[in-house]
Assembly symmetry: C2
Homo-oligomer: 147 residues x 2
Amino acid sequence: MENIFTDEYFMKKALQEAETAFEKGEIPVGAIIVIDNKVIARSHNLTELLNDVTAHAEMQSITAAANFLGGKYLKDCTLYVTLEPCQMCAGALYWSQISKIVFGSRDEQRGFQTLGTKLHPKTQVNQGVLAQECGDLMKRFFAEKRK
Amino acid sequence: MENIFTDEYFMKKALQEAETAFEKGEIPVGAIIVIDNKVIARSHNLTELLNDVTAHAEMQSITAAANFLGGKYLKDCTLYVTLEPCQMCAGALYWSQISKIVFGSRDEQRGFQTLGTKLHPKTQVNQGVLAQECGDLMKRFFAEKRK
């Protein structure tokens, strides 16, 4: 039987969150956290609504997943996020010891890979999943902002 | 007239927060944020109590200060924190565009300076303020933990 629980499958759910952010006028980034193919956290960027630079999608999902699990380490968890995490979010993911990070489009300027943020040695990374769709949503957002 | 509002003056307040963390069994890091010599946020590490790796003292103070100011940028604000910020906190401070960061003792292993986290170009840094007192509290905490 075909495994439906692919990285693309879960990234689509993160993209739905990003679309919700878009509709609210937030920079459209969405994230979910999954354990054993079960979504235990879902969130989108809320920096404008909350007036809070720390309200990135990943940060909210880390807090929500830890709350769900009843412990602060996200062992055996995978984060799906539509945009490459920034220094802050990668730094939080470092502390969480999360098992896997999957992201969509790259953030060449402010992404953790460009800036050299250190992840936990236990953390695997898979990038470029639905990169086109994730990136297009960002481009559309900034194009509309400039109008 | 002598200016009582020195970096040492405010770092003592951050140290009081760190001591509160110590009493709760949390890694003893405290932070405050000041604007025009007025303390607008105070916090201490709560990662154990909240089961949340994002609950560092600095992160809570950034959120609280932005809430107080009604905007997410911490222009003209100074953060006082007893320990050198980590990647996550420095990354959050980058987004906040905070004017100044003053920290006490260095974190040689996980501090943002060692790991090369990028701060905002507008942000000044002053380090080593009450470094001995701040560092001693950390050492005492870990010595007791090992008992």
